[in-house]
């Protein structure tokens, strides 16, 4: 199937051109229509920058190169006006912090109606009850009351529902969710994740969910992409990657999840630290923390190895980790 989003050779660099900081490097990524893709990685792995590059919301000083094809359009070559017309309609996003992502000075109804008025072509914003419909679709309780309330009168989970409702009000083909559950109570996280899966059915949206919360990815996504220091290190079907991770970093990441065995909680933190993007080693960026690194890992960047259908990784030890 023709991918909805096709990213080829995407690079994002910050800082002076003599000493660039590569926040995203050589990323290739496809997202099919209505597919849910999880992007995992620690803070600083470049996952949020990748979203910013797709939405074209990075600071002006960021230097973006490569190609981002989105339903037949090359996003990086559109002018600002054309890009602005796509946002909220064709591709949309939910930002990290639901507590501060709504304007505190306007009612929920006012803000939802604004999105409907500006983004929907069918005049849903002018119809009475349009906002209530949007809130009902994301299962916000008592929507008739909520439209008259202000953001500070709603809990974090309720605000996240409002934001998801706003982002999907125009049934975008692609929804990017940046850490959608991180700021929420554990009990609410599940409900929000279920909501995303539902939206794929009702709005027909593909979803990119970016999070360091691997359990959220496991529960939600069809495919998982693991990033480290700005690069994709492993990518594959969620079930396969979680059952049999191939890249040492993916393995370490999964091992760092708390596991309960009997009465004990096992937790294995990854030794070392995320490398400084401004001074990356010539070889694999994970080599310094990798338990199975060889000399070649430190000296040369690993090539892509396709280990199974749609499962690929970048590792010199790809053969041995099977």
């Amino acid at each position: 199937m023709e991918p909805l989003l096709a990213i080829r050779g995407l690079n994002v660099r910050f800082g002076p051109s003599e000493r660039p900081v590569p926040a995203v490097a050589d990323v290739d990524l496809d997202v099919a229509p209505q597919e849910i893709v999880g992007i995992a990685g620690e803070s600083g792995s470049g996952k949020s920058t990748l979203c910013g590059a797709i939405m074209r919301t990075l600071v002006r000083t960021a230097r973006v190169s490569g190609e981002v094809m989105f339903s037949g359009r090359s996003l990086l070559t559109l002018n600002d006006g054309e890009m602005a017309r796509l946002r909220g309609r064709e591709l949309s996003m939910v930002l990290q912090n639901p507590m501060t992502s709504l304007d505190p000075l306007y009612t929920i109804g006012n803000q939802v109606e604004e999105v409907l008025r500006e983004r929907r072509r069918d005049g849903a914003g002018l119809r009475p009850g349009g906002a209530i419909e949007v809130l009902r679709r994301v299962h916000l309780t008592a929507p008739e009351l909520r439209v008259r309330q202000y953001p500070h009168q709603l809990s974090g989970g309720m605000r996240q529902r409002v934001l998801v409702g706003m982002a999907t009000a125009a049934a975008p083909k692609l929804l990017i969710a940046d850490e959608p559950t991180t700021a929420l109570d554990a009990s609410i996280q599940d409900e929000i994740l279920i909501l995303f899966r539902e939206l794929r059915e009702t709005a027909g949206s593909a979803v990119i969910i970016v999070t360091h919360d691997l359990s959220a990815i496991r529960r939600l996504s069809d495919r998982v992409v693991v990033m480290y220091a700005g690069r994709i290190v492993e990518e594959g079907p969620t079930g396969e990657v979680f059952r049999a991770p191939r890249h040492p970093y993916t393995r370490a990441l999964l091992a760092s999840l708390p596991r309960i065995e009997g009465d004990e909680v096992h937790l294995e933190p990854i030794p070392g630290q995320v490398p400084d993007l401004a001074s990356l080693p010539p070889g694999c960026a994970f080599a310094a923390r990798c338990p199975v690194a060889k000399d070649i890992c430190r000296g040369q960047r690993p090539p892509e190895s396709v280990v199974a259908d749609r499962h690929r990784l970048f590792c010199w030890r790809a053969e041995e980790t099977a």
Binding site: D103, L105, R119, Y150, Q153
Partner: protein, 305 residues
């Protein structure tokens, strides 16, 4: 909302009462007015008669109670110098001061707000650099100098506007530009800072990725959020212009309450000092009250929580 207003009014009354005590004592610390009011050849009997007539021979707490009781009826006593009710004198001077402060604030807002907004929208541009230079100059140049320069160029070299006096609209131009330019500098800087912060906020980022048009983001969302501290500051600035435009009133011979207060202090004219300070304070607090109310209108979190 009603409860909010009542609390505010109550606090205002307490503050005013404390202020009466303070100004009553401070006025008396300037010294005995008798030698300034009576001719030098007046006898001790004459001086005592003056003190008796104005109640200055009584204990200070008794004087205060009499002052307070009369003040509540709008009677601030008779000016020692002009032999007229102090209240009437101050009321006559407060009109021109209010008008000048109002026009100056308009000038300041019309200059400062747009400059601050434009600078915030174009960080690092030449416009932002120009606004920074404008604000630095505005804050660094004292009003007595900018006022004199305006008189020199626009009323002597090029006789376009009158250099002093009060009456027609042409009289407002030079003093209002002097004060307005000065006040606009800090308004521009504050607007700039608050707009910059508002434009960086999460909800503005969210509106951007939702494709909300920039004009709505800037004018409806960022500006209203940025306006909360600006409104407070505008109220404060207006109050300062009411009570503190003494220098400008001097330079342009403006018959305002600032001039009158300085004269009254020099002459130890207690009733006028007390009346002028109290009236200015009442105005100042009314402005603050209006700012608070406006705040509650602008920010639902104030009135609903």
């Amino acid at each position: 909302m009603g409860r909010f207003i009542l609390t505010r009014l109550w606090q205002t009354l307490i503050t005013l009462l404390l202020l009466t005590v303070l100004i009553f004592i401070l006025a008396r610390l300037t010294g005995d007015p008798t030698p300034l009011v009576m001719p030098s050849e007046a006898t001790d009997a004459d001086r005592n008669f003056f003190r008796q007539q104005y109640g200055l021979d009584r204990p200070i707490h008794e004087q205060y109670v009499i002052f307070l009781r009369n003040a509540l009826r709008g009677d601030f006593g008779i000016s020692f110098r002009y032999r007229e009710p102090a209240f009437g004198l101050v009321i006559a001077a407060i009109g021109p001061t209010l008008q000048l402060a109002g026009v100056s604030m308009l000038v300041a807002m019309m200059l400062g707000l747009p400059l601050g907004i434009v600078a915030a929208l174009r960080p690092g541009s030449w416009i932002a650099a120009a606004v920074r230079a404008y604000a630095s100059l505005g804050q660094a140049i004292p009003t007595f100098w900018s006022g004199l320069m305006l008189i020199l160029f626009l009323s002597i070299t090029l006789p376009i506007f009158p250099s002093s006096g009060y009456g027609g609209p042409e009289n407002f131009v030079l003093p209002a530009v002097t004060l307005g330019f000065y006040a606009s500098a800090s308004i521009a800087m504050l607007t700039w800072a608050n707009m910059t912060e508002a434009l960086r906020s999460d909800f503005v980022q969210m509106e951007r990725v939702l494709g909300i048009p920039p004009r709505l983001i800037v004018l409806k969302h960022a500006l209203r959020n940025a306006s909360l501290p600006i409104v407070t500051y505008l109220g404060l600035q207006f109050g300062l212009l009411l009570g503190g435009a003494v220098v400008t009133e001097r330079v342009f011979a403006w018959p305002g309450v600032g001039q009158m207060l300085v004269d009254a202090i020099l002459n130890r004219d207690y009733p006028v000092v007390q009346a002028a300070v109290m009236m200015t304070a009442v105005l100042f607090m009314m402005i603050n009250l209006m700012v608070d109310l406006l705040y509650a209108v602008l920010d639902p979190r104030v009135s609903r929580s």
